[in-house]
Symmetry: C2
Subunit: 709 residues, 2 copies
């Protein structure tokens, strides 16, 4: 009997947050895909827990009002929101005091503040979302282990060819369970991951039924710090090795420390530092630098355990750290020293771990635009800035929609190379930030007006933390000029390190569009513009015609747009398959600058309130950007974006909500928008949708534009 | 074989929104109960759909952050929020114009605006909530038909006696299905409900297994306009008969009418009136007054069909309305006349009905404080103010917690009589409002400056509507002085028709406490005070000590409270069973008037941050009422409630969030609070919780106070 062979558009290897984010995008866009993981499906306490503002924004963008069960936007409801960040360090007498206190998330940077929730919840909400978007057709397949990966270079020129071949095998569940140490769940197996071979030991080579060759157009490796996919691509990690060992405790503390329900960075005089992160269910997470931990000489020079990536020189020569010596009690003991004179005891211990990790980065994120790696597979660093899960998810949030556009035959495969150029820069910035923060966090504090003047300057630490906080929120990630971002004519603005066009003087090009309320013309409902930019795979053209009452010529211009948008040579029709819904590839939304009560919906051209095949009107694409909302204060998105109410503007927004281009509000501006799309989109004028290209509902592939948000 | 006999604390008859609200309360409080319904469990489109502000507040109060599935607070996410209310009527030339436009919900009256969602969703969320709160132990039992009801007057003096006996029988599912007419689901069966006997025809008297005698402490009849329970109690409805027949359509309209996504009242010159209510999924509901509808003489004088309640004189003499003559097309035709010159067509018809209903009210809501009726069983009226489902749910929201307190042995049964006194007044107000509104809505409009001057004055109509809107929101329902409300010393304030105490000059006593943000002292999280007053069966004592930094003596007073609250002769301990959690019956919350950053949590007495049996601290009972929240603006609940920051105040809040008493911030004030509870609570000082009194988890009966909100 021959080994089973099968085809899919995208194969995702690894079902952690990074792989699941990619899967959610593909499911949302109706792309056939599979997602496999070598571990069985037990869910653990602990692991990553911090959700930064941008991740919460992305989660919201995958939510729908009709969801009748918990999906990603449940996170904001269920997670512990972190409000204050408190810095504690010794005063002149060496006594621990609250040195300063700031907002943990910079006010105004996002609708969401940093929040904390157990990774297991996040993964479950992802799985619920995938289930919903794929109509129950896609589930994470586990435990499934990849064995070999080949790219067929002959097929590489055809983006729709199944050019990647991956051999996978089923594991029995027992073999796929992570080891546990003692009674309390812990993450030691993970932090010291070197047990890849454990999986390969458990393959039963005699049973052909357990094997399958998957032919995929594209493969995404989201398989963690010891990535098997990365190894197949012969990409090495670069970066620093480290000797520091950190302990992590999740427990309910009994303490007289007054800031225990706030995020705190505590520098003790002599006993090291602790990061305090308050969590859901009264839990608190502590990150504590441990003093030297014993090593097990029996494990030294055991190269295989490091999966080819030498990230621990000491381990090679002195043996690996002796896991059994890291206990909750030993971690707590260190914490008690740091917290003095405050007392701290432990109850309801829910998880602990020890880890030792370098700041490392992969110099390449992809091979031949066919195989990609994401998340921990391309960058590892300390968890103290709460970035791990976030940047990993944001990697595939960047990649997923591009894969979807290419797999649908809407965009040229060249856009895929922007994944590496955009995310590698983020990873480098992250590593640099983490390196700086770690050094300042781990060092002994300098104590002004005392004899201890050679340590870490707390003011510098605060400053780095605050600067980093902006970056860590994920909201200022800035993508450079490329096929997908056009900064031509825009000016770099030094002070904020971002690029603006004066026509929308507060909208940095390349960054995600910040959100504010707009008001639906048809029903007066205030709605965050971000909620109108759902993650459904569509580009958006946001037309801001200005105040059409005060400047009636602006309304005339808007009526002139109708012909362009009706033309099959112009972006709206040209890049939409002929039997797909209007607005299902490029979604045109108009936000005028007059009071909603001064104009009527039918004053505006048809494209702002189009009829569908049943002659039902789409009321959800014409908004007022200014005025009073009765219940949510007044709104002025023209001011919020720095748009003139006499001049107007046209914004092009990518499917991931990043600002792609800022154009003049005029026919010429609209032609500039057309040019933007011409650079990478594939004309669809004669492209009738195939009746069966996917095992996922076609209605998801080309989105029905009626969205009462 | 003998008929099966069983016991339960409360038997609820009827599983519409009113019965389900009662069930949700009882499940939340851990009371053993059952809920039965004679209909099988098919869910229909249509029926009631309007959710008023107060209902949404109540729904939120039953939600928990940990809910990982859709419950009642899903309503706010999924429902269509109604923003504008537009009044259309003829201008001087007879042409239909938008006469005026106002906020549909009065700004500031609540966190929630009127919203619209299909009743089937609401019922499903109730069932999910009951499932969660009862740990899966209670489900609606259907189809189960009550046959007889007896109150044993000998047992009536003991509140814990199972004094009510109800014989019930199982129906086969087929018999319990409502009839359907044509292919589109409709509500005709319901509006013209007279087919109670249909159920009784289907009883199989030969099978003893199908019968059960339920012995209940209390029975709640939430069984609709033709209430069987009401009939058993020999209570007749009083009120007006009516000849008007209304049609209702739920469909997606195709129209050039610009306000179709807003709530509209449209008075046409000659063709009658229509109420437009935009709904979820692009649906719109139309209430349209129909011209004369044919009657079927064969049905005349068929008394049984009216279930003993003569609500339709014409039907007795001329026969009942011929249901088959009310069609979606006939209703639409009428609408088209009213909308002229605008055109309106229909697609995606999802439901329709015709109804004919009087404004009727039951003079009694209970018998012997043992059997109660609620909802349509005690008041019926037109649906135009969107009140039916809301007032019905609010009836049992009033009753449910009282039953729970009595069944738990915490409160004297006398409190049950406040159900009738409080809700009968609301029903009377509702009927009066509906009577007035209906007359103005149904009449032809007067047209100023024309020759048509004898019709309805549109200005009067708007005025009545606006006045009524306040009432209809459900937020100003005012309960009179009683065992549970103490207005002593407070002054009636004429202009707002409510009663205030100058110590909290903006807190009407007897009304529900309006909500604003407070800031958690421990973690800086802003939280709506209403979310700290969850519907879990507890009374709240809200202590406002004022600005303890500016007035340090106020902090000293707060420390003096500690002894009172520790005393077993004082309310906090006296009315809490000895092995129940602290704060599980009366929840003491402190909201100080200083900036959170000027004080520390440990400056405050222990009762504001108590330790539990594991010495874990409860951080969720000390708040700051003033200051900046970083992300949600600044907060001043002292100003919002009209409380002096030098004087402070103590508020007593009932489990349904109605303000029970306003007392001085002093030991004397605290004693006044003690007196309030002494009037109706039962001392528990020696009352150890029985190990097994219920088939519901005891942890729900006496609430664990740790609630990270």
């Amino acid at each position: 009997m021959a080994i089973k062979e099968s085809q899919t558009d995208v194969l995702i290897i690894g079902a952690g947050p990074s792989g699941l984010m990619c899967a959610t995008w593909l499911a949302r866009c109706g792309i056939p895909f599979r997602i496999i993981d070598k571990r069985s499906n037990e869910v653990f306490a602990g692991q990553a827990d911090g959700l930064q503002s941008r991740s919460l924004e992305i989660f919201k963008s995958f939510s729908e009002p009709a969801f009748d069960f918990a999906t990603l936007d449940q996170s904001w409801k269920m997670a512990n929101h972190v409000i204050d960040m408190c810095f504690w360090s010794p005063d002149e007498t060496g006594k621990l005091i609250r040195n300063s206190r700031v907002a943990d998330t910079i006010p105004g940077i996002s609708r969401y503040t940093e929040s904390v929730i157990h990774q297991g919840n996040v993964e479950r909400w992802f799985e619920n979302s995938i289930d919903y978007f794929s109509d129950g057709k896609v589930k994470v397949e586990r435990p499934l282990l990849p064995i070999s990966l080949k790219i067929d270079t002959n097929k590489a020129t055809n983006p729709q060819a199944h050019a990647v071949e991956v051999l996978v095998t089923k594991l029995n569940s027992e073999a796929a369970k992570p080891e546990q140490y003692g009674k309390v769940a812990n993450g030691l197996f993970r932090a010291f991951d070197g047990d890849q071979e454990k999986f390969y030991k458990n393959i039963d080579e005699t049973n052909e039924h357990d094997y399958e060759v998957i032919h995929a157009k594209y493969v995404v490796g989201s398989d963690g710090a010891h990535s098997w996919v990365r190894k197949q691509l012969n990409i090495d990690m670069e970066g620093e090795q480290t000797d520091f060992v950190w302990g992590v405790l999740d427990m309910v503390p009994i303490t007289n420390f007054p800031d225990i329900r706030n995020r705190c960075a505590i520098h003790s005089k002599d006993s090291g530092s602790v990061m305090v992160i308050p969590r859901e269910n009264d839990l608190v997470r502590f990150y504590i630098q441990l003093k030297e931990v014993e090593r097990d000489p029996a494990t030294k020079a055991d190269d295989k355990q490091f999966n080819g990536n030498v990230d621990d020189t000491k381990a090679k020569t002195k043996g690996r750290i002796d896991r059994s010596k890291i206990t909750p009690e030993s971690i707590l003991k260190q914490a008690q020293e740091i917290f003095k004179p405050y007392t701290i005891e432990m109850t309801d211990l829910s998880w602990y771990t020890g880890y030792q990790i370098g700041q490392r980065i992969s110099p390449q994120f992809s091979k031949q635009n066919r195989v990609f790696i994401s998340g921990d597979a391309c960058h590892t660093h300390s968890p103290k800035a709460g970035q791990g899960m976030n940047v990993s998810m944001q990697d595939t949030y960047n990649l997923g929609f591009k894969l979807a556009l290419v797999c649908k035959g809407l965009a040229k495969p060249e856009i895929l190379s922007t994944y590496e150029s955009e995310r590698l820069k983020v990873a480098r910035d992250l590593i640099a930030f983490d390196h700086k923060l770690s050094r300042l966090f781990s060092g002994k504090p300098m104590i002004p007006n005392s004899d201890i003047l050679d340590g870490v300057d707390m003011d510098e630490f605060h400053q780095v933390y605050l600067e980093g906080n902006k970056f860590a929120s994920g909201t200022i990630v800035d993508y450079e000029d490329s096929l997908l971002v056009s900064k031509t004519g825009a000016l770099p603005v030094d002070s904020n390190d971002c690029t603006m066009d004066q026509k929308a003087a507060k909208v940095p090009i390349g960054r995600r569009l910040n959100s504010s309320n707009i008001i639906c013309q048809a029903n007066g409902q205030p709605v965050h513009i971000a909620d109108r930019l759902a993650s459904d795979g569509r580009f958006r053209v946001l037309i801001f015609p200005g105040d059409v009452v005060k400047y009636p010529e602006n309304l005339k211009t808007l009526h002139k747009f109708q012909d362009c948008l009706d033309s099959k040579h112009f972006f709206a029709k040209k890049f939409t398959p002929v039997n797909a819904f209007a607005n299902s590839v490029i979604d045109v939304i108009t936000v005028h600058g007059s009071s909603r009560h001064e104009v009527e919906i039918f004053d505006f051209p048809d494209f702002t309130h189009p009829l569908d095949f049943k002659r039902r009107c789409d009321y959800w694409r014409l908004y007022s950007g200014v005025g009073d909302t009765y219940h949510e204060g007044s709104v002025d998105i023209y001011d919020f974006y720095g748009i003139s109410k006499s001049e107007g503007v046209i914004l092009v927004i990518r499917p991931d909500s990043h600002v792609a281009q800022v154009s003049q509000y005029s026919i010429d501006g609209l032609k500039e928008v057309d040019n933007y799309f011409n650079n990478f989109m594939i004309p669809q004028t004669n492209n009738v949708l195939p009746t069966k290209t996917s095992d996922i509902n076609d209605s998801k592939r080309f989105i029905q534009p009626r969205l009462a948000v």
